[in-house]
């Protein structure tokens, strides 16, 4: 019960239902579709780079509150970072979800994305939280 309210908190609900990051960019350097065939979730992530810096990001698509919020919060966290910084943050996020990264100092880098810390208590929803992060990981690795 508490776990549920912790997860569906104000921050996550706002991001999932009314995200300002849910839009199309006027121009993008990278664009990738992520999907979970099991649940039918599909998100498309767009990235605009300025040199080595992630200048802008946006997403479109549909999915559950957890996957939508995770995508939107991820964009807030990664925008303005260098590609290397972003890769580190992604690794930390995935590590946190898998309960491999527990260092508080390390987790602070995630900013608002730390809100998904307890998703591992809801095993059925882990893949929802990870969808966007795996998708952006693919984009940056291709670069």
């Amino acid at each position: 019960m508490d776990e549920l309210n912790q997860m569906y908190n104000e921050l996550i609900m706002e991001h999932s239902m009314n995200s300002y990051n849910k839009k199309k960019l006027d121009r993008c350097d990278y664009c990738e579709l992520g999907h979970n065939p099991n649940c039918g979730d599909e998100i498309e992530i767009e990235v605009k780079l300025n040199g080595n810096i992630i200048e802008d990001m946006a997403f479109t698509g549909h999915g559950c509150a957890i996957s939508q919020a995770s995508t939107s919060i991820m964009i807030d966290t990664l925008k303005g970072k260098t590609v290397e910084e972003a890769k580190e943050i992604i690794e930390t996020f995935i590590g946190m979800i898998k309960r491999e990264t527990t260092s508080e100092e390390e987790l602070q880098k995630l900013e608002d994305a730390i809100a998904f810390r307890n998703i591992s208590n809801m095993p059925a929803r882990v893949k929802c939280a990870l969808l966007a992060w795996h998708t952006i990981e693919d984009i940056l690795n291709k670069k």
Binding site: M1, E3, L4, Y8, M13, E14, S16, M17, N18, N38, C39, G40, H62, G63, C64, A65, I66, Q68, M122, A124, R125, C128
Partner: protein, 406 residues
């Protein structure tokens, strides 16, 4: 029927769980669990292989269950019953051993849009391999397949028709009798997917006159991993084996083999004997309660669920208005809320429903949706389960309400 007494047979239902996912798999009564335990404690040996009494006993139990199933669905011959892993394997067996061999360029396969992926994907493969065409019967506004649709899609070119007797998403009971009669007039054979129907209704394969019928044990109180293929003897006899190996042979030479007669021809390798024994016990349990009572108990709860859910203004229901055509499955969505979120919130209240596309992506796509929540019922469910579901939905709606409104 004393529902409390019946529920006591199902150890997992103790406590306050509202299990509304019997369409995925049913819970198992003690009688089934005990039968499997007893088999391993007293009768375990490899059937058809040993000359000693223990193996003969195991063979007898295995083969007696085949006879029991033949009677259960009123098959003419016991060897028309083939044991498989599940309905999916049964359908694959038909696709590989019948479809690939019998279909030719420009022949047509017809299935309904509400088929499970297991009655679609194998036919895509057959269509591609043989140059035949896969056509669909679509649903109308009442989530049913109309007679006109049946008659316009099944043509003189149709050779195979696959139809679910009950949809695992909509709960619609299809008019399989009408489809079978019409398809036969056009010279096609008909495969009935009874996975969602046989737990709830009496099936008589001779009366239906279907050519094949498939079902899974685990959706009718039996263990996971045991399924049945029924096929008319004359058709099964003409078909080549699906899997090769032990027990399905007669003489094996270095380069050639002759095959065993039915049913062994289609049962290669050591079978899931505990599954067969469990399925036998499940059938005994169903017959002891009786389909009439099952129908009565289910219908009372289902009726109550339909009534309660239709009063929730924030819900979309995907349901035929014709009650007599509806079996124990209700798909729905809270408008604007993803079914996975709803399922998680229900789970926090110990209410188990399925969410997603239910292995029926073509159906959902044709309905213009990606996924639904699905509550599915069996005779052990109560009005109390429905009340828990409704309370959970109220909670989910309240959590999301102010965000949806924006």
């Amino acid at each position: 029927m004393d529902i409390e007494k019946i529920r006591k047979d199902f150890p997992i239902l103790e406590g306050d769980i509202a299990y509304l996912d019997s369409g995925a798999t049913t819970q198992k009564p003690k009688q089934v669990i005990k039968a499997i335990e007893e088999f391993y404690e007293k009768n375990n040996a490899n059937p058809h292989r040993g000359a000693y009494s223990l193996s003969i006993e195991a063979t007898e139990q295995y083969e007696n269950t085949r006879t029991k199933i033949a009677k259960f669905i009123n098959a003419k011959h016991r060897e028309e019953i083939i044991f498989t892993k599940n309905a999916t394997e049964s359908l694959n067996l038909i696709a590989y051993s019948y479809g690939l061999n019998e279909l030719k360029q420009d022949d047509e396969i017809v299935v309904s849009i509400m088929e499970h992926h297991s009655n679609i994907v194998p036919w895509q493969k057959v269509a591609k391999a043989t140059g035949s065409k896969l056509n669909y019967m679509y649903i109308n506004d009442e989530f049913e397949i109309s007679d006109e649709e049946i008659e316009s899609k099944i043509t003189d070119k149709t050779k195979i028709v696959g139809i679910a007797q009950v949809s695992n998403v909509l709960g619609t009971i299809n008019n399989v009798k009408k489809i079978i009669d019409y398809a036969h007039k056009k010279g096609a054979i008909v495969i009935v997917d009874a996975a969602q129907s046989i737990p709830h209704m009496k099936i008589d394969v001779q009366e239906l006159n279907c050519d094949f019928l498939v079902f899974s044990g685990h959706k009718m109180l039996a263990p996971l991993g045991i399924g049945v293929l029924y096929g008319k003897k004359e058709i099964l006899n003409k078909m080549s084996p699906f899997l090769m190996g032990g027990d399905m042979i007669e003489y094996v030479h270095e380069q050639e083999t002759t095959y065993a007669p039915l049913p062994n021809k289609f049962e290669a390798g050591t079978q899931n004997v505990e599954g067969v024994i469990g399925l036998g016990a499940a059938i005994d349990y169903i017959e002891q309660i009786g389909y009439e009572n099952i129908h009565k108990m289910e219908n009372e709860v289902l009726e109550y669920a339909r009534e309660k859910l239709s009063k929730l203004g924030y819900i979309d229901l995907y349901l035929t208005p014709n009650k007599q055509n509806h079996s124990g499955v209700i798909s729905f969505n809270i408008k604007g809320v993803h079914p996975h979120d709803v399922a998680s919130i229900l789970d926090s209240l110990n209410v188990c429903v399925r969410s997603g596309n239910h292995c029926a992506q073509p159906l959902l796509r044709s309905m213009g949706i990606d996924s639904t929540c699905r509550a599915s019922f069996y005779f052990y469910n109560t009005k109390d389960d429905v009340d828990k579901l409704v309370a959970g939905l109220e909670k989910a709606y309240k959590m999301f309400e102010k965000y949806i409104a924006k």
